[in-house]
Symmetry: C2
Amino acid sequence: MTTEARPGPRERLLETAAVLSYQQGVGVGIEALCRTAGVSKRSMYQLFDSKDELLATSLERGASAFAASLLPAADDARGHRERVLHVFERLEAQAGAPGFRGCRYLAVQIELKNPDHPASRVARQVKEGLAEFFRAEAVAGGAGSPDLLARQLILVFDGGSARAGIGADHLAGLMTPTVRTLLDAAGMH
Amino acid sequence: MTTEARPGPRERLLETAAVLSYQQGVGVGIEALCRTAGVSKRSMYQLFDSKDELLATSLERGASAFAASLLPAADDARGHRERVLHVFERLEAQAGAPGFRGCRYLAVQIELKNPDHPASRVARQVKEGLAEFFRAEAVAGGAGSPDLLARQLILVFDGGSARAGIGADHLAGLMTPTVRTLLDAAGMH
């Protein structure tokens, strides 16, 4: 019989910060974070300089899972249009899952209202990665104005994620026709 | 010589709540609100049941100014396409002004993460008013799928306002071509 080791305090703090900041916002208190993670405040401050650093590190740690949950696989042989549409099909599927509150990397920046906050910097970088994916596909797919198309796609992504996150739209039947229209107008193949 | 009366405590609290919650988020403390408004906490609680009620009332009070800042005048004789585009030209202009942090009615809902909060209810209602404007114009303009077009337009509005609010996009050269493409695809005249 194998026993699974309980994650250490650093791991538990990072996971708790990810979950609670997503559910409750970045204003979640240090007491709540430490209590939920089962870590003393003293230990937390030995592991992280500040709550800001804990939050930023937890966002950074989630970046690869975020990308994996949205982007097509590297060996995905479909065309560029389909690779872009894949992201929006994934977003639509995620929006339909219970507990969805929109893109955490958008919400953090809206909540913090401070582009210099370490967590805002991480969030901005992660979303720039998504915009860069759109731009690269737009170029490779022969879009007339790849920069404009990339701005449009991330705009639709953020708008969709925000509206689904607040429960204003379920996104079903919205993402695909909207993105197709923009891809068509850009002449993307 | 006329003297301008200083606004009363209720007015000062509502204005302060509008300004500080927009700049700092809905987590702004009661102490900061009262101190900035120059009103004692005791007086505040005589005027409002709670900070939630103060916040909700301040959002409600701003609703007509929000609509006036975006919608075409009632006697605006331009066509339906131009009336819709007017909203996005206004958003683009607002996004270029210093201190712009995006649509407050979107931000409040993202920050509160609770659709039953009195301020979320007000915010949702205000944005439903904007969606209703888009739907009415889409119907009057002969859009093939007015419901889809209205969802697309408010999606673009929220996406643009969110991205400009966090400084990720200045919106210049983005709003008008995006909206025109969607209006064209919907066959709206």
